[in-house]
């Protein structure tokens, strides 16, 4: 969906150049989330998603000439 949005507004050569899973432990590194929010996420998410809550990506693209 991220790449599609870039294509839709007119970027070309859109590519995902990096993609890795983010776990709950990775999210816990951020000083943005209080412990109670992370506990809430652990309770609500199926345990099989603990290591794969979201993916971090880098998407590149180019404005056409």
């Amino acid at each position: 969906m991220f790449r599609r949005k870039l294509f839709n507004v007119g970027f070309e050569a859109v590519a995902t150049v990096d993609r890795r899973p983010f776990s709950i432990a990775d999210l816990a590194r951020y000083p943005l989330f209080p412990p109670e929010f992370l506990d809430f996420v652990r309770r609500v998410l199926p345990v099989e998603r603990d290591q794969n809550v979201v993916h971090t990506v880098v998407v590149t693209g180019r404005r056409p000439l």
Binding site: P31, L45, H55
Partner: protein, 187 residues
Amino acid sequence: MSYFTDADARKIISTTYEKAQASTAVAAMLYAPEELSALPPGAVALALGVNHPVRHAALLRGERVLDIGCGAGIDTLLAARAVGSHGRVVGLDMTPAMLDRARGHIAEAGADNIELREGLMEALPFPDESFDVIVSNGVLNLSTRKSRALAEMLRVLRPGGRVALGDLVLTDTLPEAIMKDPTALAV
């Protein structure tokens, strides 16, 4: 689907990032030790991105770069080093408190090819074709109008200009209870 209005989302995000406490845990996860050792410690401790878009941006000496959502400036400083004294980097952020922090880190680094601007990614305060490259790191997801923000990026890039955007993507839907929690907006 957005559970928050634009104004509410911006307020929640600004407040969350203004209150962020220093921690090197995120920077240690995303950047190489040799990159971090050459940066002001404060910029490292307030790194809150989700990837390393500057690494993938293939920056060249002399290029003009826009760092959207620059925060405390870690990617801005890395980009400034890459483009050198004949290049220029503009760091844009909507949170004055983060810009204040970035200003201090830039001064500490002695970087004289960086300018900071306050503004919104959905209405970039620059003329058309102002930049060669745009980077952003964990920022586009904070917008409730992503397509507008992307259209603005296209506008301010020169023809042939590039973007390298780091962000988080879902691999499956998250429960609505998480998506509706204001804390989740910072992700």
